[in-house]
Symmetry: C2
Subunit: 270 residues, 2 copies
């Protein structure tokens, strides 16, 4: 079990980058929330957790439990007695807060902050994101330390998130900046026949189907036959069939045709 745990941890760490933004929690109140933040961070490949003046007697055990196994983040967490100390080594700091009315400060979306963080990291500049205590948010003096306000675009009349969810959205934007998953793709299945069918294989199915439709009388009106054939081919052309699926469809046609003619017919064996 220990071996499994160690392997799992090292794998999770493989997807974490030291140049990722630091997450700085200022005066967090509950161990559970710190643990859930650690979990959200590891979900998104973030590993640098900094905690400023947690409430005296916060529950480390509860933090571990609610981290769902993200103990590596908690083990590496560093503690500070002031926000200035916690951000001392960073070049650019974002503060998560509602727009402060009396400060002139750039506002950025999480996507913009992620874009900037990735670009800054290429220049060896390290960023961090400040989060205030659960209900009250950040002190204005901490906000004044930041280069920009990071504001989450959500339902303006119902925007309150818990701490871990805010970390998750911001970390998710950072993670997806570095992620190269295509927006939409069809993954290759297992086995030889899981590969995409060639056009020759697909056309073989079309011709098989059309022979049976001719035999059954479905295409009996000669004038309409060409457009009907095209419409039917267009239905199947949208599917991006695998070889296996072509074989399945030919089997369906053969069995339906056999049912009609009674028993497997020789014409289906091509």
């Amino acid at each position: 079990m220990a071996g499994t745990d160690r392997r799992r941890k090292s794998e999770a760490a493989d997807f974490c980058r030291e140049d990722a933004p630091a997450i700085i929690l200022v005066e967090p109140q509950l161990g559970e929330n710190i643990g859930m933040v650690a979990r959200a961070m590891l979900n998104c490949g973030l590993i640098d957790l900094r905690i400023v003046n947690p409430r005296e007697g916060w529950d480390r055990d509860k933090a571990e439990k609610s981290s769902s196994g993200a103990t590596m983040v908690l083990e590496r967490a560093r503690f500070y007695t002031s926000t200035a100390d916690a951000v001392a080594d960073l070049e650019i700091v974002y503060a998560t807060t509602a727009r402060p009315r009396d400060m002139v400060k750039p506002m950025v979306t999480p996507r913009q902050a992620a874009t900037e963080s990735v670009e800054l990291a290429t220049r060896k500049l390290k960023t961090g994101v400040l989060f205030g205590k659960e209900a009250k948010g950040l002190h204005n003096d901490d906000v004044a330390l930041a280069d920009a306000i990071l504001h989450l675009p959500l339902n303006p009349a119902f925007a309150s998130l818990n701490l871990a969810q805010a970390v998750l959205l911001i970390g998710y934007e950072w993670f997806t900046m570095n992620d190269e998953t295509e927006g939409r793709y069809i993954p290759q299945g297992r086995g030889k026949a899981a590969r995409p069918a060639t056009k020759d294989e697909v056309i073989g199915f079309y011709e098989h189907l059309e022979r049976e439709l001719d035999a059954s009388g479905f295409l009996r009106v000669e004038a309409k036959r060409p457009s009907m054939v095209r419409n039917i081919r267009n239905i199947f052309a949208r599917i991006d069939l695998t070889l296996q699926e072509v074989q399945t469809l030919r089997g369906i046609v053969a069995f339906l045709a056999n049912g009609r003619s009674g028993g497997p017919g020789k014409k289906d064996q091509d």
Copy 2:
């Protein structure tokens, strides 16, 4: 209080769209999770919650409590006895699950699904997203009903999210598709002097500063003066100063200069 609640609800509803994707929870186990899903939905302007066979005796009170006020989503929730019934009126359905090994099915990212959902909505086509039960995920038969697998790009070695967090990320992508917040901007403050300073006002400050720097001897090396002035101007030119900030900076210069010369000098009054 009731009035406040009602107003708050109606405001939150103003940012919800009927053409937003439906969220379909299949066999959810815990009332708390249903409540947290409702909260995440309202955060993201989603209002159409559908629940298939919740565990017998799930706790409606706990759902309300954990919804943090998103009761309007719970009140509108519809219940079904099969997934097929729950998706019957939808045109396109996404299934959230790990990649199924034995199915050939397109994989989409949350951003792609959001892009598609917005585009489909313009054609009056309605989408939905299926979520399986907390630990086990979706049945393969439910996945087979879906048009595509929606896969969250997260740390592959530590990707597990709770139900509400998965809903939040997917809803967030949908909400930001419709959100026009600029990536980075400086909001206008309150009051007359909160407006951006004109170049004339900024140059007035530069000249004021440079007069005092001449008087103090800081710019005494004539050959270096032009480049030093340009460097100093470039520091302040990066700030995008407001009029109020220009006034603050001029006050700073005047007071520092007065400290040196003893008492406010007439030359600072221009």
